[in-house]
Symmetry: C2
C-alpha cells in the first residue's frame, strides 16, 4: 500500500519517550516535573521557605533520622566534597573502602584536602568484608588511628551493595567517623541513619529522589559537628555551618535551585504516600525480577546474589556480542537507555538502573526489549522466557 | 449587586502571575521554562553534549571572548569560590574592592582560603575610584605585590556599577589578576572580556541569563590558567582543570543540571536573536525610564547617575513610609515583588531589579503600581506623572 512510510523505518517520526534505565538521571514523575517546571519564585519568600522546610522534614523522614539535613545546589559530588571539607583536616588519616569508581572518588576528594588515605580495594563486583575493615581499623590504632572511614553504600559502577550496618558499627565502636555515599541507595534501600549510627550521609537529586540532577543532600550527626568544630579545612560554598544558621530561618545561605526545591517537596509527598516499607520492598522486587530474567536469557550477572544492589544490575554480555551493540539496539529500536561500564569495566558490562520512579512493568518491558535485541544480534533466546522468569520470581 | 465577591477583595482568587522585579531570580521566558521543564535526558548522551557545546559557545559570544567558559552546577557563589580556589594560594595578597555586600563576599572567600586580604571599602551607593585602586596596587608593590584584585562589576546590594574597564586596566598594567563578579551585569551590560583583559569572570543563571537559579558560569583567561598551574589550594568539585578536560569531549566531570543546560541553550538562542547591542541598549533604557519615574514620584535615588546600574535601582522611601509597607503594598495589591536592602541597608532602601526578560512596559507597570501604593500610604503624588516622566525620558 505504501502510505508514505519509509521502508525499514520503525516508528521513525512518532517515538516513545526516551526511557532512562540508567543509574541516574532516572525517570521523573509528571507531578514532580510540573512542580519543578513552574516559573521560579523568589528564594527569600515565605512560600520558598515553607517548601524548603517541608522538603528537609521529608528528607529526614526518608533517612529515618533526627540529624541535620541540608540541601545543596550541586551534584552529589558537591555533597561528597562538603562531607570531607567539613570534617577532615590535612593531617588526618582516612580509610577509603573502594569497591568501584565511586569509592575511589572519596579517596581522591580526601587526598585533595591533604588527608593521608589508606585504600582498601575490593575486586570489582564484590562487596567489602566487614572483618577486613575491622582489622584495618584495629591495625591503624597501633600507629595513628583513622579519623574517618569513607564508605560507598551502593556502588553505582558495579551494582554492589555493601553491608553498611556492619561497616558503620565497626567504625562507631572504634570511635571513627563514618562518611557514607548513599547516592544510589538513599530513598530506595532501608537506610536508618540513626539506628545504624551513620555520621555523614550524602545523596543526589537525580536518583531514587526522582528529580532532575542539580541538588545534593547531606546528613550530619552530632559527632560530625564535633569534628567540624576542629576542622580548619578551607571552604565557603560548602561550609555547613552557614547552611545550619540559614536553615534555622528556613532558608539557605546562597541562592538555591528554587525549582528543584519545589520538585523535591513534590517528590517526597509522593514517597510519603507510598510509605517507607513499600518503597524498599518495591526495589527488592525490581532487582529480583530483573536478575531472574537475565538468568533466563542465559546472560551472566556481574554480582552474586548476596551483594546484589536493589537499584543497579550489572550484566556481562554474551560471547561475541558487544555492550555497544546491545545499548544501540535498545536505544534505537526501543528508546530505552542503559549504561555502559565505567573506566576499566567499559565494554565489559552493561548496567541497568532501577531506582526511583520504576515499577515491575518497566523491568518486564526492559527484559522483553533486551530479549528482542539479543535475538537480533544472534544470541539464542527462547522467546518469552525472560519475562516468564521475572514474573515467577516475584509472584 | 453582590455577585458573591467579598468586600475589599481585589482579585482575591484569580491572581496575576507573581512578577519578580528583584535582582534575581528574574522573569523567565516561556520558551526557556519549557526547554528546562522537559523530562531530563541522560547527561552522557550526544543530545546533552550538543546542548552543552552550543550553550558554551553562546556564553562566549555574550562575553565577547575566546577564553574558556565553564558551566558549574551551583549558584553564582559557587562560581566565585571556583575563581579563588583555582588561582589563589594561602600566602597570596589580594585586594578586594568593596562597594557592598557582594564585594565583601569576595574578601570572605579569599580569606577562607588563607589569602591575606586588603579591603578597599567604598561608601555604600558610590562606585570605587580607579585612581584609588591604582594607588593601592602601586603601594603594595613596595612590600609584597597583590596576586589578584577582586572586583564587583555591578553591586547587587546597592545598584552601583563600577568602571570595570578602568579597574581591569589598572590591574593588568601592574601584572595583577582581575577576578570579576559579573553576576548582575553579564548579559545585560557591555562586558567585552577580551578587550578589557579580564582574567576571571563569574556569573549565575538566574539574572540576565533569564533562567531559574542553579547554574554558575566562569570564564578563565590564559593568565588565569598560569596562576592555576601554581595554585595548590584544595579543591575537587570546583577544580577547573577537570571541567577543561571534560569540555574537550563536550561534557562535564560531574552530573550537571541537565534541565538548566537545555534552558541555557534556549535562552542564549533568544539573546542571539535580539543581538548584543540591542540587549545592552534595552537595559540602559530600563534604567533611564525607571530613574526618571522615581524622580517624578519625588523619591530619592540611592545612587547618582554616573554610577547607576543598568540592572538594579535602589530607592530611598519617602519620610514616614517604611520599605516594608511599600514591598507589602506592591506584593499584595499588584503581585509585584521588589527587594529590601541587605544587611546595614535593610529597611533603608528598596531595590528594583530590571535585568534579563524585562521590558519598558514592565517598568511602566512597576512605576504606576508604585505610585498607587505610595498614594495609599499617604505620599503625595501627581497621578500619572511617574509614567509620563518615564516615557519621556526614553522617547
Amino acid at each position: 500500500m505504501g502510505c508514505g512510510r519509509r521502508p525499514g523505518a520503525y516508528m521513525s517520526d512518532l517515538k516513545p519517550r526516551e526511557f532512562l534505565m540508567i543509574p541516574g538521571p532516572t525517570p521523573v514523575p509528571d507531578a514532580v516535573l510540573e512542580a519543578a517546571g513552574k516559573h521560579p519564585i523568589g528564594h527569600r519568600t515565605p512560600e520558598c521557605s515553607k517548601a524548603l522546610r517541608e522538603a528537609v522534614d521529608g528528607l529526614k523522614w526518608l533517612g529515618q533520622t533526627g540529624n541535620d539535613a541540608f540541601v545543596l545546589t550541586s551534584s552529589g559530588t558537591g555533597a561528597m566534597e562538603a562531607a570531607i571539607a567539613n570534617t577532615i583536616n590535612s593531617s588526618d588519616r582516612v580509610l577509603s573502602v573502594i569497591v568501584g569508581v565511586f569509592g575511589e572518588r572519596w579517596a581522591k576528594i580526601a587526598e585533595a584536602y591533604g588527608a593521608s588515605v589508606d585504600r582498601l580495594v575490593v575486586e570489582p563486583g564484590k562487596a567489602v568484608s566487614v572483618d577486613e575493615v575491622k582489622a584495618k581499623i584495629e591495625s591503624a590504632k597501633k600507629k595513628e588511628p583513622y579519623k574517618a572511614i569513607t564508605i560507598t553504600h551502593n556502588e553505582t559502577s558495579t551494582g554492589v551493595i555493601n553491608n553498611l550496618q556492619g561497616l558503620a558499627s565497626a567504625a562507631k565502636n572504634a570511635g571513627v567517623l563514618s562518611i557514607v555515599d548513599a547516592v544510589t541507595s538513599y530513598g530506595a534501600v532501608n537506610l536508618p541513619i540513626d539506628d545504624w549510627g551513620l555520621d555523614v550521609v550524602v545523596t543526589g537529586s537525580q536518583k531514587a529522589l526522582m528529580l532532575p540532577p542539580g541538588l545534593g543532600v547531606i546528613f550530619f550527626s552530632s559527632r560530625a559537628w564535633q569534628a567540624h568544630a576542629k576542622c580548619n579545612t578551607p571552604r565557603f560554598y560548602f561550609d555547613l555551618a552557614k547552611y545550619r544558621k540559614s536553615l534555622e530561618e528556613d532558608t539557605t545561605p546562597f541562592t538555591p535551585n528554587v525549582s528543584l526545591i519545589m520538585g523535591l517537596k513534590a517528590s517526597l509527598d509522593l514517597m510519603r504516600g507510598e510509605g517507607l516499607e513499600a518503597i524498599f520492598e518495591r526495589h527488592v522486587k525490581l532487582k529480583t525480577a530483573l536478575r531472574a530474567g537475565i538468568n533466563a536469557l542465559g546472560l551472566k550477572l556481574f554480582v552474586e546474589e548476596d551483594a546484589a544492589s536493589p537499584t543497579i544490575t550489572a550484566i556481562i554480555p554474551p560471547e561475541g556480542i558487544t555492550v555497544d551493540a546491545i545499548r544501540k539496539g535498545l536505544k534505537q529500536r526501543f528508546r530505552i537507555v542503559v549504561a555502559d561500564g565505567q573506566e576499566a569495566l567499559k565494554g565489559k558490562i552493561f548496567r541497568i538502573g532501577h531506582m526511583g520512579y520504576v515499577f515491575e512493568r518497566d523491568i518486564l518491558m526492559t527484559l522483553a526489549s533486551l530479549e528482542a535485541v539479543l535475538s537480533d544480534l544472534g544470541h539464542k533466546t527462547r522467546p518469552g522466557e525472560a519475562v516468564k522468569a521475572a514474573v515467577s520470581a516475584v509472584r
